[in-house]
Amino acid sequence: MTALHTNAATDTTWTTKRGALAQSASMAARSLASIRHQPAQLIDFFMIPLMILLSITFFMGGQMMGSWQDFLQYAGPTIIAMGLFFAIVATGLGLYGDIKEGVFDRLTAMPVSRFALLAGRIGADMAKHAWALLVVGGVAFAIGYRAEGGVLGTAAAAGVLLLFLFSASWTMALAGLTAKSEEQIQTWMISLLMPLAYTSTIFVEIETLPGAVQWLAEINPLSALADSMRVFLDGGTPGGEVLALFGWCAAIVAVFVPLSLRAYRRRLGD
């Protein structure tokens, strides 16, 4: 270390203050920066939803609906949604890793909004989900899926899906901040997210479900998501299902954002 500029250690001039959203953007960029060093990650982001789509469509679709083409047409988009829904676990694992790292100690001791520290991670994961949606959606189109709702309907369906993923990610933020180990987060995923997916209208119409499950499917937020996506993709008139979905998203955010922030502050106690 040579004394090149004697004032370099002490000289700072800016005094501006950026808001929580600008800070979130900086944090999101930080989470995405590793892609530049390891571009192969771009493949990892879509592999799981892609494999879920292809394997279910080709191996189970025929049995469930006569032909895999019919199944793809009915359930393809919602199965993509399910694959992406499982991918929100990455948010929990990512935050769990973040707060164990020294850099989060430094950031926590800085005048940075606590919301930004969490939202940065979620924002970055949303970019990954959007990328995966683009790729897997493209594959669905390539193997024959067509949306009657056209470009607009497809865009609307993608929009509600991303909105739902954003809200649901906050449940994973809470998981990442409160879990004692990474295995615990995985266990929560298997025991909560999977049953939720299988008791919804993602695969089948509600009438084909057994009685008790019908009731579950009725109130399941993933049913609201699946039904809303179908309305837009099929070019129908959006109604109650979309309202229900918005209600779910608002409720999840209203509950889990404060809980996550509180969990983050709690961790400072120990």
């Binding site: 270390m1 090149l4 002490t10 800016w14 005094t15 203050k17 960029a29």
Partner: protein, 322 residues
């Protein structure tokens, strides 16, 4: 505001472990407070409390007159922290790490980049600016870490063992930066396990052990308290070591120790060293080697915590046999 850092009666437990039993610290503005202590003494816990990362169970900590528990947000605006473990993102390059911090602190893109380059240059890291911080050597990481904590000049800077693992050159360079910052008005609290480092940098020193402050004062006060230097005596015949310990304790009022055949005697001044050597000479014990050294932190601790005034009085009543 008399003190930039003022800590009173701090207590913190982790389950069964009492990390801080009772810690009082104070640093006047623009000074360096050295916190000296062995592993597990509670240094990191104390720093984490003062830098708003950990809530204390009892006691108060004020930084720049602000209570760190109730006014944490204002405290964070004005402090810098270099933790014991690298506070860097290993996936980001050195430059990206600094830019991120500058951006979060409100710099524009251009300002952030300018500041990052300035600091990389200053800390001899310009050649590694685009390399991932995770691939830096230990010393480079430590330097980047310090750079990161002064992206915006803090009014109070906490450095938790900033030079552990650094080579002498890097250590000297870091000392220089600390001095520059202090000259510009920053108050620095630094923890260390090296007496020399505290001696070089600190205006005052607090020694903590097992969660308590066991001694505090200026470096010279502390050195007086622990006997300034240590006299090391290696007898030609190892069996003679115990005898040397006795002789030294009779010669001057201290507790000497036998460390694997080398006898360590804390001495306050040259006169005391002479008295010990004279007594050894009288007894006719051959020495293979001897020397005066700065006491190591271990020795400071043994002296500070191992003083048993009663025991020494007992020993003094016994008259030397020779």
């Amino acid at each position: 505001m008399r003190y930039a850092i003022e800590v009173r009666g701090l207590k913190k437990s982790f389950g069964e472990v009492q990390a801080l039993r009772c810690v009082d610290l104070a640093a006047a503005p623009g000074t360096v407070l050295g916190v000296l202590g062995p592993n597990g003494a509670g240094k990191t816990t104390a720093v984490r409390v003062m830098s708003t990362l950990t809530r204390p169970d009892a006691g108060t900590a004020h930084v720049l007159g602000l209570d760190v528990t109730t006014r944490a947000a204002q405290v964070r605006e004005r402090i810098g922290l270099t933790g014991q473990y690298a506070g860097l993102d290993p996936n980001l390059s050195g430059e990206q790490n600094l830019v991120l911090i500058a951006r979060l602190l409100g710099a524009s893109r251009r300002q952030a980049r300018t500041r990052a380059h300035e600091l990389l240059e200053r800390f001899d890291l310009a050649h590694a600016a685009t390399r991932a911080a995770g691939k830096y050597s230990g010393g480079m990481r430590r330097r980047l870490d310090l750079a990161a904590s002064i992206v915006r000049r803090p009014e109070v800077l906490f450095l938790d063992e900033p030079t552990t693992g650094l080579d002498p050159k890097s250590r000297g360079g870091l000392w220089e930066v600390v001095r520059e910052l202090v000259a510009a008005g920053t108050t620095v609290l630094l923890t260390t396990q090296y007496l020399e480092e505290a001696d070089q940098l600190a205006d005052s020193i607090a020694v903590i052990d097992a969660g308590r402050v066991i001694a505090s004062g200026t470096p010279s006060q502390l050195k007086q308290a622990v006997g300034g230097q240590v006299l090391r005596l290696s007898p030609a015949r190892p069996e003679a070591a115990e005898r040397l310990v006795q002789l030294a304790e009779w010669a001057i009022d201290v507790k000497a120790r036998n460390e694997d055949g080398t006898v360590v005697v804390p001495v306050a001044n040259a006169g005391e060293a002479q008295a010990v050597m004279a007594r050894v000479g009288q007894a006719g014990i051959d020495l293979a080697g001897f020397g005066l050294d700065e006491p190591t932190l271990d020795e400071v601790f043994l002296t500070l915590t191992g003083h048993r005034a009663e025991a020494r009085d007992d020993e003094r009543t016994k008259e030397p046999a020779a």
